[in-house]
């Protein structure tokens, strides 16, 4: 028993040591909160390295501003809480600008356009938005897709069970669609096209109708107005000097 206790104490001290050292490390750097399961914006490659369009863009912008950044994976459902409790400094990972979110965070100027598209299986009999009545529609929880669907209250109420089905991740929605439990999903176009390519585009059909066009922005704490301006200037520079386009081609060229 004595040995076990000693081992536990040693572990506790090692642990305490780790905790404090990592804390002082990240104090002066800007911490960017990312959902590292969100391909192609931010995800892990085979070396477990964080890669993606937003990761590259953030690195480029940080260089332009001359600040150091670190990426902190977060649970996407907790992103605004993480920001407002100072655990992260920016939300930057396919973060759609919405009115509801504007109440909690400041957004930079949009840097990428996106639509909320409706995806069904190739042989589905759903052709228009109106066909969704009585059907099961799934979306990612806490996502802008969910917000877009709920905005059309009549349509949302006409769905099976009177509301969309919410899943943890978009890929869960796709799997549920293929399993035949969901009849349609609503999802960011950027992500949907990537997933469809991975899973076999011929299996799906994208409807002409959609749930509106949207834009991605960087989420900044309301009090960080100086940082917001710096980011906006750097984004503008990146777009005018062509470095943004190079990056865009790298990730989104067909």
């Amino acid at each position: 028993m004595k040995k076990l206790l000693t081992a536990a104490l040693v572990l506790l001290f090692v642990l305490a040591g780790c905790g404090t050292s990592s804390n002082t490390d990240s104090n002066e750097k800007l911490i960017i909160g990312v959902d590292d399961t969100f391909a192609p914006m931010g995800f892990r490659d085979e070396n477990n390295e964080l890669v993606g369009f937003d990761i590259d863009l953030a690195t480029m912008i940080a260089e332009k501003i001359g600040i150091e950044i670190v990426f902190q994976p977060i649970d996407w459902a907790m992103k605004e809480t993480e920001l407002n409790s100072n655990n992260i400094d920016l939300i930057w990972n396919g973060y759609t600008i919405t009115d509801k979110r504007k109440e909690q965070v400041n957004f930079t100027t949009p840097y990428l356009e996106n639509r909320q598209i409706i995806v069904v299986l190739a042989d589905s009999d759903i052709n228009y938005k109106a066909d969704l009545a009585g059907k099961s529609l799934s979306v990612q929880k806490e996502s802008s897709a969910l917000e877009a669907v709920l905005k059309e209250a009549d349509l949302a109420a006409s769905l099976k069970d009177g509301a969309p089905v919410e899943f943890d991740t978009n890929i869960d929605c796709f799997m549920d669609l293929e399993a035949g439990r969901s009849n349609a999903i609503v999802c960011d176009e950027v992500l949907a096209r990537y997933v469809m390519k991975q899973r076999g585009a011929e299996k799906y059909r994208v409807l002409e109708d959609n749930f509106g066009e949207e834009e991605y922005g960087i989420g900044v704490r309301k009090s960080d107005t100086e940082l917001l301006e710096k980011l906006n200037t750097a984004l503008k520079d990146a777009k005018s000097d062509g470095s943004y386009d190079t990056l865009y081609q790298k990730w989104f060229a067909e």
């Binding site: 206790l5 572990l11 399961t37 995800f43 892990r44 085979e46 977060i74 796709f174």
Partner: protein
């Protein structure tokens, strides 16, 4: 090949899972033994506090406790980093469960033994540590084993604070490669971890048994 791309991310995820498991277990079980022993001394005011502690820890979800420690405590002026929050929440929660298990174990030992020890001239402390506690531990060993397996699986909750453990690594791979196959590998790894734990538990249980052991 998909599996080649998955090896490293899943391996690193497994390391995080193992780390959280090992530290939580190594801290909470000894702590619970200590606290349960204090509880066995039946000091009213202290036991009232223990009861309250156990009620809160067992009565609310561990997920909520983690979120409270990380997101809630800063409102009270206590800001902990991610790792510390995870370990604090896990250790407190598992200490509470282990304490309840141990309480049962200690109660199961016939109180006549304590009297017998005193007749033989042992101090109260010595008789507790040398006679009562070993029997109590042996009696509640299967229940502790249960908690060990639960703990291995509960580590998957830490993703809510942004930690990248095994299940998260699997989910990430599912999103990246657009297939659910990584979940199968994740399941296999969890099974490997739990069966190894079960094997070690069985071995320890045999060793503790005065009849079968050394």
């Amino acid at each position: 090949m998909l599996i080649g791309k998955l090896i490293l991310p899943l391996f690193e995820g497994t390391l995080v899972t193992l780390q959280v498991f090992a530290i939580t277990f190594a801290v909470s079980l000894p702590l619970a033994i200590l606290l349960a022993s204090i509880q066995a001394a039946r000091i009213k005011i202290i036991n009232l506090f223990f009861q309250l502690f156990i009620m809160i820890e067992r009565g609310t979800p561990l997920l909520l406790q983690m979120m409270f420690v990380f997101f809630g405590l800063p409102y009270m002026g206590v800001t902990l980093d991610r790792e510390t929050s995870i370990y604090l929440a896990f250790v407190l929660n598992y200490t509470a469960y282990f304490m309840e298990i141990l309480r049962g174990g200690i109660n199961s030992v016939d109180s006549g033994q304590l009297e017998a020890c005193q007749v033989l001239g042992y101090s109260r402390f010595a008789s507790y540590v040398r006679v009562i506690l070993p029997q109590a531990l042996q009696a509640c060993f299967p229940s502790i084993g249960n908690e060990v397996l639960t703990l291995i699986k509960d580590t998957s909750l830490i993703t809510v604070l942004g930690a990248s453990e095994l299940l998260k690594a699997g989910r990430s791979a599912v999103n990246t490669y657009g297939t659910a196959v990584p979940f199968i590998y994740v399941g296999i790894i969890y099974l490997m971890l739990t069966t190894t734990a079960e094997f070690l538990l069985k071995k320890t249980e045999k060793k503790m048994d005065p009849v079968q052991g050394e």
